[in-house]
């Protein structure tokens, strides 16, 4: 019996032991089987269905979904990939695509921060706080040490931001390991604490506030040497910096870490079944802490790439309104907690953010609708991800027909599968 069918029949674990039920509570467990099959088809199908549903909403509100989506798509800059787009349109597309990828960069990493925790059976809602703390440290390092050699300076800032994020997430990990504190609560609390810490640092009279601008609640500017090189577009006008490659590289690190290292093996074992991990001699608490450290490092680095790549300073306001951690959860879920899925989902979300931005929406379309449509489409995507049983069912329906056409089922399988005593 294939895993796919197992899931479809609703007996993902093939047995009816009580313990399965308890173990099922782990989020890693919940999503584990979803990754097994249809790794590409399902998310793509999910997205398509969500957009169709969004289109219905547009239609219901009396607008034209085709032109709305065309406008959004053009706004994402993805039409740059079409070779027949030329001239001014191509330049605009390039600019938009740069912004899409710029937005995607932190989303990839914060998504990985959420995904890694998921793989180890934890729900890291704290991406935002880890990102914030990473940003504070990155801007502090980046705006100090003016004479430092650029490569060193950049590396220093990124690593320090990663460590800061790791330490912040580590608090939640340690609390869970030592006192059993639920990480959902503690990461939510740490998010807020990080925000106020950040506001404290950069507010007027704050310890890290820009001394050259005493009237503005902002950090000092990142020095020229610590800025990430821009390789596509204008270095002055927020072109695409090399941060995206760092994000890609860390996605590869994520995949290797999960699949090939002993730590990843332990993390997954703990995620799927902590009791079995303990039985195998793993230190579950220590694994939780380590996993959170890694998560926090991803989120911290995400912030440093934003700071060194295009923000260059940090207003208290930025800290208060940032949404990255929130989107990160959605990205990880849509990407099914895998490295490649997270990257793809981050690019999709980045594209949505850029494509629906005001400057890219054609005036003939109701921009109000478009802005909120983004939320609705995201909501629908996430809900479909939650229930990808539906999409799987569609897939299975097709597959069954295909099988039926090809041949008759040869023989009844072992009767030990479902429900039989």
């Amino acid at each position: 019996m294939t895993l796919l069918e197992d899931e479809l029949e609703g007996h993902p674990l093939g047995g009816e032991e009580e313990s399965d039920q308890a173990a099922l509570r782990s989020p890693a467990r919940l999503t584990a089987f979803r990754r097994g099959s249809g790794a590409i088809t399902v998310p793509v199908l999910t997205t398509v269905i969500a957009f169709l549903a969004g289109g219905l909403i547009v239609l219901a509100s009396g607008h034209d979904p085709v032109s709305t989506y065309t406008s959004i798509f053009t706004g994402t800059g993805l039409n740059w990939l079409f070779p027949w787009i030329g001239g001014a349109a191509r330049a605009t597309a390039a600019g938009n695509l740069q912004q899409t990828l710029l937005q995607a960069t932190p989303l990839i990493l914060v998504g990985l921060a959420v995904a890694f925790a998921f793989r180890a059976g934890m729900f890291n809602i704290g991406g935002q706080g880890q990102y914030t703390v990473g940003g504070i440290v990155a801007v502090w390092i980046g705006s100090s040490f003016a004479g430092m050699s650029p490569v060193l300076h950049i590396a220093f800032a990124i690593v320090a931001a990663g460590l800061a994020g790791a330490a912040w997430a580590g608090i939640a990990g340690v609390l869970k390991a030592v006192t059993g504190a639920n990480e959902v609560i503690s990461t939510i609390m740490l998010n807020w604490i990080a925000i106020w810490l950040g506001v404290y640092c950069f507010q007027l009279g704050g310890p890290l506030q820009n001394p050259k601008m005493p009237q503005t609640p902002v950090s000092s500017n990142v020095v020229a040497g610590a800025k990430l090189p821009v390789f596509w577009g204008s270095a002055q006008l927020q072109g695409l910096d090399v941060g995206i490659f760092i994000a890609f590289a860390l996605a590869v690190v994520f995949a290797i870490l999960i699949k090939r290292t002993r730590f990843g093996y332990e993390a997954r074992a703990v995620g799927f079944n902590p009791e079995a991990a303990r039985y195998a001699g793993m230190n579950v608490g220590r694994t939780w802490v380590r996993v959170m450290l890694v998560c926090g490092a991803f989120a911290g680095v995400a912030a440093s790439l934003d700071i060194l790549g295009w923000k260059f300073n940090l207003y208290t306001n930025d800290i208060q309104v940032s949404q990255v951690g929130f989107y990160g959860i959605a990205v990880a879920l849509l990407g099914r907690n895998s490295a490649s899925g997270t990257v793809a989902a981050a690019v999709l979300f980045g594209a949505l953010l850029t494509g629906t931005s005001d400057r890219n929406i054609h005036l003939s379309i109701d921009p109000t609708l478009v802005q909120y449509l983004t939320f609705m489409i995201e909501g629908i995507i996430i809900m479909l991800v939650a229930t990808d049983v539906i999409t799987l069912r569609l897939l299975k329906g097709g597959r069954r027909i295909a099988v039926a056409l090809r041949s008759r089922p040869a023989k009844a399988a072992r009767p030990s599968g479902h429900g039989a005593s």
């Binding site: 019996m1 895993l3 290292t261 997954r268 001699g281 009767p415 030990s416 599968g417 039989a420």
Partner: protein, 512 residues
């Protein structure tokens, strides 16, 4: 049909499919008032499916159900209850955090304006339990009572709902001999009261003890219905398996040598810091199987956990080949040479979403062969898994298949293979055959004896008499956290059962 009374329940031509799997294939079954009708078959023969159909948990694809000669539509447990059917499930359907009385009345609560009338509930429970000799404390929480008591609660639940037809799904699997006898008494009383009882089991002996009639299922089909009179274990076994089987393997005795596991004065507490093991001392020697027999919940779990490093004992020593490991954790125990076949393969023994290669590495993943400098040696793991899978005859998947995709028996083989492959000095096997069918049990038993003969020290913890007697070279009985007796394997079931229940049962009470 042997009974003179007309059947009050008839199932006719029941067919139930799961996908392409046919769990029940045109099964007929009936039971009359005052009769115990046993349903016998191996794991996976379709017994529980048939009863789930009867109880409205599954909808049959074909066939009909008649109660008192009239066809009834049973599409939910509610309608089954209304039709007078009560069911005692194999896995008890009790809410752990609620009291006995609450569990019994759930769904049909005595109440005034919605407010629970627990007094009335208690009274009713007392009345029923007095009448049928089902002693329970209505105010005890389910999580605090014994398995036997849980089963009594389940029976009371059915009686509270005025069940005339009582279905017991593998009721003896978790009971001691004493409790089985008590159950038999209860069933007799119910019979006298005119209840019809369906008794599901895969144990030949007890079916012969309890049933008036026996129906055998094999691979979803009814293969025979025979009266008890004239049936023998041999004849039934042939029907169940479809071939002749050797019921008791001729066992060679082990040749014990030097002691490998020495436990001295061990005290262990449970999660609530209650002492569950109180001063256990034991020794297991190389080439010997020592069995710990006892009723579930007498400290076996805590003892095994303390020996294997999963739980720190409050005091006492655990030595493996002279090396002290008490309280030093699983890794120290593993390194000292302990392997551990876990009681519950889903809870502990396996990571179901892991591949078989990954599962097979759980015990030894830190060894240089499996991982080096933090990197897993995936190719080696896969190659090793392939070897082990064929050696242990695991069917249904290769190294890259997920453990969840295997059948229970094959999953257990994987767990056994992993533990044996770690080449331990001491193998702790905790209920190694729980929930397995005859073929798989044969395999595991054979393998344990083989490992003993290779010179390993094996500590077997089991609730099954037959298993204990079939495998052990020495039997230690555990009761309330203490070793209360040591027996040789040819001890009588009576004697063993008495020790397991604290020696308070006099021989005269043992009827049957």
């Amino acid at each position: 049909m042997t009974g003179s009374a007309p059947p009050i329940l008839e199932l006719k031509g029941i067919t139930k499919k799961f996908g392409s799997v046919v769990a029940n294939d045109r099964v007929d079954f009936d039971v009359a008032a005052g009769e115990v009708h046993a349903l016998l078959g191996e794991n996976g023969a379709g017994k529980s499916t048939l009863m789930s159909v009867l109880y409205g948990l599954y909808t049959p694809d074909e066939g009909e159900i008649l109660v008192d000669g009239r066809p009834v539509e049973i599409h939910s447990p509610r309608t089954a209850i209304d039709a007078g059917i009560g069911m005692v499930h194999q896995h008890f359907m009790l809410v752990r955090v609620m009291t006995v009385a609450e569990n019994i009345v759930l769904g049909q609560e005595p109440s005034r304006w919605g407010r629970l009338d627990l007094k009335a509930a208690r009274a009713r429970v007392h009345e029923l339990s007095d009448r049928y000799g089902l002693a329970v404390d209505p105010d005890a929480r389910i999580e605090d009572i014994t398995v036997g008591a849980e089963q009594r609660v389940e029976i009371l639940k059915a009686l509270y709902r005025n069940a005339r037809i009582l279905v017991l799904d593998e009721p003896t699997a978790v009971l001691t001999a004493q409790e089985v006898r008590e159950l038999t008494g209860v069933l007799n009383r119910l019979k006298r009261d005119g209840a019809a009882i369906v008794f599901i089991s895969h144990k030949l002996r007890e079916v012969l003890d309890v049933a008036d009639r026996i129906t055998v299922l094999r691979r979803g089909k009814r293969v025979a219905s025979v009266p008890r009179a004239g049936a023998t274990e041999q004849s039934l076994a042939r029907l169940v398996v479809g071939r002749d089987v050797v019921l008791s393997a001729a066992k060679r005795h082990g040749t014990p040598a030097e002691p490998l596991l020495a436990v001295a004065d061990l005290h262990v507490g449970d999660e609530r810091r209650l002492e569950k093991v109180s001063g256990v001392s034991l020794t297991v020697r190389s080439g010997e199987i020592v069995a710990i027999a006892g009723v579930d919940g007498n400290g076996q779990r805590e003892l095994v956990d303390a020996i294997t490093g999963m739980r720190a004992p409050a005091s006492g020593r655990v030595r493996v080949d002279g090396r002290e490991i008490a309280g030093q954790g699983v890794r120290a125990a593993t390194e000292a040479g302990i392997a551990h076949i876990a009681e519950d393969r889903h809870l502990r023994g396996l990571v179901l979403p892991f591949t078989l290669a990954e599962n097979l590495a759980l015990r030894e993943y830190r060894s240089p062969q499996c991982s080096a400098r933090g990197w897993m040696r995936l190719a080696h793991l896969r190659e090793r898994a392939g070897r082990l899978l064929s050696e242990f005859d695991v069917r249904g998947g290769g190294p890259d298949s997920y453990a969840a995709a295997l059948s229970g028996g094959n999953q257990q083989k994987v767990a056994v293979a992993r533990e044996i492959a770690s080449n331990p000095k001491v193998l702790v096997a905790h209920q190694p055959t729980r929930g397995l069918d005859v073929g798989a049990i044969e395999f595991v038993h054979g393998r344990l004896i083989e490992e003993r003969d290779k010179g390993r020290a094996i500590l077997l913890v089991s609730l099954e008499y037959e298993e204990v007697r079939a495998l052990a070279d020495r039997i230690l009985v555990i009761y309330e956290g203490r070793i209360v007796g040591e027996f040789s394997p040819d001890v009588s079931e009576e004697e063993l059962g008495m020790a397991m229940t604290g020696g308070q049962v006099s021989r005269s009470e043992a009827v049957v």
